[in-house]
Homo-oligomer: 329 residues x 2
Amino acid sequence: MKNLINHVDNVLAESLDGFAAAHADILVLGEEREFVRRKDIKPGKVALISGGGAGHEPLHAGFVGHGMLDAACPGQIFTSPTPNQMLNAAQAVDGGAGVLFIVKNYSGDMMNFEMAAEMLDQDNAMVIVNDDVAVENSTHTTGRRGVAGTLIVEKILGAAAERGDNLGQLKALGDAVNKATASMGVALTSCTVPAAGKPTFQISAGDMEVGVGIHGEPGRRRVPLASADAIAAELTGAVIKDLSLKAGQEVILLVNGFGGTPMLELYLMVNAARKVLGAAGIEPVRYLTGSYVTSLEMAGCSITVTVADAEILALWDAAVHTSALRWGM
Amino acid sequence: MKNLINHVDNVLAESLDGFAAAHADILVLGEEREFVRRKDIKPGKVALISGGGAGHEPLHAGFVGHGMLDAACPGQIFTSPTPNQMLNAAQAVDGGAGVLFIVKNYSGDMMNFEMAAEMLDQDNAMVIVNDDVAVENSTHTTGRRGVAGTLIVEKILGAAAERGDNLGQLKALGDAVNKATASMGVALTSCTVPAAGKPTFQISAGDMEVGVGIHGEPGRRRVPLASADAIAAELTGAVIKDLSLKAGQEVILLVNGFGGTPMLELYLMVNAARKVLGAAGIEPVRYLTGSYVTSLEMAGCSITVTVADAEILALWDAAVHTSALRWGM
């Protein structure tokens, strides 16, 4: 793998500097690059903080701004941020109404965010996202992994925090949205962490990894590459089953690229997933398509579905102004 | 290369169907999928139409909507659309004030858009974008190629059309923005057109193609992969020279990914390009970073700079609502 970098040790730092310069209208880089935070702190609003290893951009820093996150703590590539980063971010963005951590379920992230939450000494400090239906336990995780559905939890909680929900309400809503959200992905290629210098996993030219995690963790099975329709049937089918979706239900459909898959193919997958949902009488009423929760340059995609009632849709539609997701302002 | 597709013959059609379904709030797919057009036609507004081969998504269909294009005509992957597509699109979106074609300078696109323009029998029917400073003539082009700067021309003309500029004014503004815009790119890998089944060009594991075109056309030279800073110095330096930029000037900086390069690296390139511009006393006052004018899954990026006066900035900042670029609404 070839990268546009200077030195493997400085990739994250230099990237954050460019990111902060490009989006100086909405965000600020914290001291020692421990976190990215919203430029304008809103007093009286619960502060939402997420974070995790780099390499999944635009997640999470790309979702810092009005109507979504107040801060994001980036770790090195595929490496958890430290509890100190989280605490310093909390101190920087706490508007007096408390802090809520939104955490993808990975062992390292969980351990560090739990430590930070304990030090915060506050009830209802964490929402855990575990939307990946592919496998029950995984390389870096006990229980289900948190993947692209994290974006949906962050968007909906961000809108709810912006309208003034308190910490207890946000914690309950976050748990509910996580429960209403399911994802599953497929990888066609691996990815290479620059500091490692070799692919995270090996996959032959004719195979795909069904149920892959966003760090290239093994999924359900390694099989020959299938058609888009067959892949969509398996991924969407698993999601429908997990959520026990019934005909007549409305959903948000997120087709997420892992980084190396062109938009042309992602929209083709939207078409394929729509057919599967349609056949089950399920209607996507909102769509989001793009590479939002990535694994560096990995080729492949995931399909995420969130059951949407009127409240969820109103919160989804609410104004958001981040570097990666923006509407209504 | 592995793709998320069903059959190589149906890639574009199925992708367009997914695209139109996902963005039914803002656009409509024309009959026989000849074009994508804005859902709401604005009477009395000059209609802006672009198009070109698929494989560069989100360009151009991703820029159809309020404040940007009225229609986009997609050809098959890296293949020009036909004059008939352009004429039918023109008929569908003409609000009575005429039609302006925005055309990237490639021989096939030029021939077909010129034919369509002749059949329109209207003055000032075309703005030609040729922002690529890398080479004077190229595999598919006489004169300089049109690349990522096309996005900037489309955004600024879209805003000007929305405020009510007439055809002559838009033609003059488009030519001026094109002249004020320069780009140059680098490829680290090739890309594979699904129907071809093999990489468009060969590049060894340690090399890069400096000055590459967006179909993988050769650039200035094939050399060993350099550091991000060295690449930024060459690309940004070429752009500064072409535009004869002077200390104190303000610019829009677009760091555009070709498809296979992670956001992490694109922002690192933003940081690198900023340093080069800063050393020359040139200040980016607006940034856009992402994979907007792509070459399927090619790894690499381009740097585009547009000289920005107050009018250009106001038009850049004006509200836009397309699937790929959205702000202010």
